[in-house]
């Protein structure tokens, strides 16, 4: 997580200093106006971001309840802790540099300060709102749906919500004392969060753990896969019944649209022809990468059970492999809309899928065998980044995963044309199948030789 946090801080700071000039020179628009228009989306995305990632302090409260500490103090402590979290500090890295630039550019100091104070107030409003919407999926996804509709309406020029919201944000600048409103609002939300929290500070209220209603499913139609079906059935349940794995499926769905950046030509530096393959590999392989890199960590919570049972490693690995293959095929079918941007776009996705199935599926599983990060299936909060996932071995493996197919394509593209380039990538993907058994053997050996280390590493968090 630390890597991800540093990366966010760095990019926010760069944006903070650069945004003004980028908008002025790049878009030829009035920067302060543009920022004020974008702020409504910024605030909403902040809320979405928090909802997914910001951990509520509730988990750490239980031990405090048995100690002689007043309840109000516990609540103040818990809410106070959220106030100094990364999710609030992060915004300072954008807005402070941006405000400094505004002042340098001749905006009056007092008015800029008032504007900044208002933004700060709104960010804290988000912080407190998140406390009571946390874990209320229906409310939350309702808000997300409304936002998506707003963006859509704005994109097609039907209705532009920012036309109505930017005067509000600009108002804090134009009439500085208005900045007091968001700050008061933040205080009100604090009080609301406080009483909500206090009311729910009982083991059978807010601190109780919700139980899912479980249905026993036997997936007997999977029995046709023979003895591998034992694992396949289990893996399907793993994917369907855990927060973390659902998050992974959601993310791999987003990957399908990643290609839009490339094929619509919206980013100039991606116009080189070999970038098509780069896009094709990610579009079809979202699940393959996000799921595959954590095999066998998905089973970390009960790895001692697996290791003391008579597991047929080959079938265990094959089951995960089939899941990745099926997901890749599904992604490829969904991606058929890329045909809109020419047959080359979809051809890139299809050969990308072939290469993913033939070569990358093996490499991802191989790399995963070295990753010893235990996965907590019950939370989606860590799905985005984990510094341990970036070790040298996995980094080295990205060369054959991404750069090699791009190079192969380029070799074909610049000699006999794009058709030949696609054919070469597809052939090398098919060639990968020949090594399937060999790679499975290697992975099995890695599992066995790393067994004790893996068990010890998984134990750290269990």
């Amino acid at each position: 997580m630390a890597f991800f946090a540093l990366w966010m801080i760095a990019s926010f700071s760069i944006l903070g200093f650069g945004a003004y000039y980028m908008i002025e020179d790049g878009l030829k628009m009035e920067p302060f106006q543009v920022v004020n228009q974008a702020l409504i989306y910024y605030m909403v995305f902040d809320l979405v971001f928090r909802y997914f990632l910001q951990k509520m302090p509730v988990i750490n409260i239980k031990p405090l309840m048995y100690l002689p500490i007043e309840r109000t103090k516990i609540v103040n402590f818990a809410i106070g802790k959220t106030m100094i979290s990364f999710f609030n500090v992060l915004h300072a890295f954008f807005f402070i540099p941006f405000s400094i630039v505004l002042i340098i550019e001749g905006f009056p100091v007092l008015q800029v300060l008032a504007w900044y104070a208002a933004i700060l107030g709104l960010i804290y409003c988000n912080n407190f709102i998140n406390i009571f919407v946390n874990n209320k999926d229906i409310v939350f996804f309702g808000v997300v749906a409304v936002i998506l509709v707003m963006i859509g309406l704005q994109y097609y020029g039907v209705f532009d919500v920012t036309q109505y919201t930017y005067p509000i944000f600009k108002g804090f600048y134009a009439v500085p004392y208005l900045a007091i409103i968001p700050i008061i609002l933040a205080v009100v939300f604090y009080k609301m969060a406080f009483s909500y929290f206090k009311k729910n500070l009982y083991l059978d209220a807010g601190l109780s753990i919700k139980h899912d209603v479980a249905e026993t499913q036997d997936y007997s139609w999977l029995n046709r896969f023979g003895s591998m079906s034992t694992f396949l059935k289990n893996d399907l349940k793993l994917l369907r019944r855990n927060k973390r794995s659902k998050m992974t499926i959601f993310m791999s769905f987003l990957f399908i649209f990643y290609g839009l950046l490339f094929f619509t030509g919206s980013i100039e530096s991606y116009d080189g022809p070999f970038w098509r393959i780069f896009a094709g590999i990610f579009v079809s392989g979202g699940f393959l990468f996000t799921f595959g890199q954590f095999v066998p960590s998905w089973d970390s919570a009960y790895y001692p059970l697996m290791m003391s049972q008579n597991i047929r490693y080959k079938e265990y690995i094959a089951s995960k492999w089939y899941l990745m293959v099926i997901a890749t095929i599904i992604s490829t079918i969904i991606s058929v809309f890329y045909l809109y941007w020419g047959w080359q776009a979809y051809a890139a996705v299809v050969v990308g899928a072939i290469y993913n199935i033939g070569v990358n599926s093996h490499l991802v599983l191989w790399g995963g065998a070295y990753i010893k990060t235990p996965i907590d299936l019950t939370t989606s909060k860590k799905a985005f980044g984990d510094k341990q996932a970036f070790n040298t071995k996995t980094l080295l493996l990205t060369v054959p995963k991404l750069l090699l197919p791009m190079a192969i394509y380029a070799a074909g593209h610049y000699t006999l044309g794009e058709g030949f380039g696609f054919a070469l990538v597809a052939i090398s993907g098919l060639g990968g199948f020949l090594f399937k058994n060999k790679v499975f053997n290697i992975i099995e050996k890695v599992y066995k030789s790393e067994k004790y280390k893996t068990l010890a590493a998984y134990k750290q968090n269990n």
Binding site: T216, Q217, K237, S308, N310, L377, T378, L455, A456
Partner: protein, 232 residues
């Protein structure tokens, strides 16, 4: 059945287990007692090849456990929650273990049928995932799962902890029955001296990783153990 030879386990902080030699014959109910940190779980983990011995080895039916995996088909265990799969219902979990151990659904159902009493209506058809069961009920599931597939060696770490009194009494019956009538070698650890002396025909006391008592259970055993742990 199980032969321990010169076994030791040490971490950087120092040795945690050292057993010169220990033989457990087939069909014995074997009890392991000792205070926290005495090395009970370490011994069981070594027996299941979940950690590596620093020196020496354990042979189960003449198979050295850290060199071959052939002991797995006839060995089963319940050590802690890491032996449960939290997102499965108890039924699904039993069938999964059954499939791993080469039993079909009917075999598993037949076995589960014998444990209706033991489950006390709190396990099957409850529409709950294992992760949402109470600690005691989780333990019931883990123990019964360890009986699936006709194992010859069963290892249970602290099986009595967290169970309610009724279930404790039933579990004692189950363990006795396994060893006496089915010839299964049962290894049990416990902090409850009364339970082990009732269930086990042999009791070994571990202290700081060493075997300091090895008793054939008799009427006097409980008194002797109590005297020992009271520090007399």
């Amino acid at each position: 059945m199980i032969a321990v030879s010169n076994l030791s386990k040490a971490y950087n902080s120092g040795p945690v287990l050292h057993i010169e030699g220990l033989e457990i014959p087939k069909g014995q109910s074997f009890g392991l007692v000792g205070n926290n940190g005495a090395g009970k779980t370490t011994f069981f983990s070594l027996l299941l090849d979940l950690i590596q011995p620093t020196s020496g080895y354990i042979k189960s039916k003449d198979i050295q456990v850290n060199e071959s995996e052939d002991w797995k088909p006839f060995t089963s265990a319940y050590i802690d929650e890491t032996f449960l799969i939290g997102y499965l219902t108890p039924e699904e979990y039993f069938y999964f273990i059954g499939e791993l151990r080469g039993e079909n659904k009917a075999d598993v159902d037949a076995l589960l049928g014998q444990f209706g009493d033991f489950f006390h209506g709190e396990i099957l058809k409850q529409k709950k995932y294992l992760r949402d069961l109470s600690k005691g009920n989780q333990k019931k599931v883990g123990i019964v799962a360890a009986l699936i597939g006709k194992p010859e060696v069963i290892i249970l770490d602290e099986p009595f902890a967290n169970l309610d009194p009724t279930t404790q009494i039933r579990l004692k019956q189950i363990i006795k029955n396994l060893a006496e009538q089915q010839g299964v070698t049962v290894l049990v650890s416990s902090h409850d001296l009364m339970h082990v002396t009732e269930v086990c025909e042999r009791i070994v006391v571990l202290e700081k990783g060493e075997v300091i008592k090895d008793l054939a259970t008799s009427a006097a055993t409980l008194k002797e153990l109590e005297a020992h742990f009271a520090g007399e």
